[in-house]
Symmetry: C6
Subunit: 77 residues, 6 copies
């Protein structure tokens, strides 16, 4: 019942770097919400971790998620 | 008459995580608005749930939708 | 003279859901502005409505357009 | 000397629809800035006007440009 | 030592059109930062200047960079 | 233990150009977070540095990251 797990209680993080980690987590959780089978995801992981096109596309998602996290934290100013 | 169903009465959610669920719903509803046949959508689902390129592209859409939901909720601050 | 038709008098909508409909319309009108032949567009429609890659890319456009519509409506708050 | 032509004196437009037209112009001018030969561009036009993938990608660019134009015009409120 | 050259002293430009030129420069400098060999870049240039898919993808980058430049200049209002 | 290294203590930079360098670093660190093996990354580097499609996609990520850095620095105004 992965969907029920509370994995995003808040967008606030202590540091920008923790904000990056949260952004990566958000990206991964989106993929887990669509492909819900962890075994399939594990198998698929090799596909994208060795394909630069997909690594760059993943970085695009992280950049978008981080925009949200950074704004929520007022850029840690 | 799927288009008539009120599925987005508000962008406000109680928690960030409910905001993620709303963002995923928004992404799905966009696809349903273009491919209106639920049977075809069900058949297409296998295509993208096992293709990491498409999973990443889907996560990009969710990230964009979540930017809107998060701003609407003033980042749940 | 499709270009002369006033299809976007305002970005203001009554509800978030009407905002979604406007966002989808904006995306469609962009495509119509580039491929101006409605017969060709109708023929092309099958191409993308059955291709999940293109459905996801379309949802990306809708998400971007909705960001603008939602901001214009101050998120219907 | 296409580069010297002043085609963007302002981001302000009278109506949202004129803002759409400006957004489309901005997208086209970006392409003209990279592929500077108008004859080549004309020849390439068939490539993308009949390819839904590219029409959708073009609509993505228009959506981004319109975000900027709409913000500049305070959403014509 | 291209990296040491100061090519971005400021995001402020006198006009929107100069802002477009800066946005294009920013996009080009990103590519130069990854593919640092100018000879290779020159050779690659033909690849994308004649491929509409890549021209559109380039226009997407310019649109994003221009969003930043326009905000920095308060939309030249 | 690359993940433990503090590489993003702040989004503040002295100049816009340093902001660009930070944006590029952010994009690279996202890729390193997904493909954690530096030897594999080095091998993959040739794939994208000579493929204009991937160079443009990388520039898209840098543009997004720079939007965040520029906002954090109030556009260095």
């Amino acid at each position: 019942m992965e969907n029920k797990e509370i994995w995003l209680p808040s967008l606030i993080t202590k540091t920008p770097q923790e904000g990056r980690e949260l952004a990566i987590k958000m990206a991964r959780k989106s993929i887990a919400a669509i492909q819900t089978d962890p075994e399939v995801r594990k198998k698929l992981r090799d596909d994208y971790a060795n394909d630069t096109k997909q690594l760059i596309a993943s970085a695009n998602v992280v950049a978008l998620e981080f925009q949200t996290v950074a704004a929520a934290n007022n850029y840690w100013k």
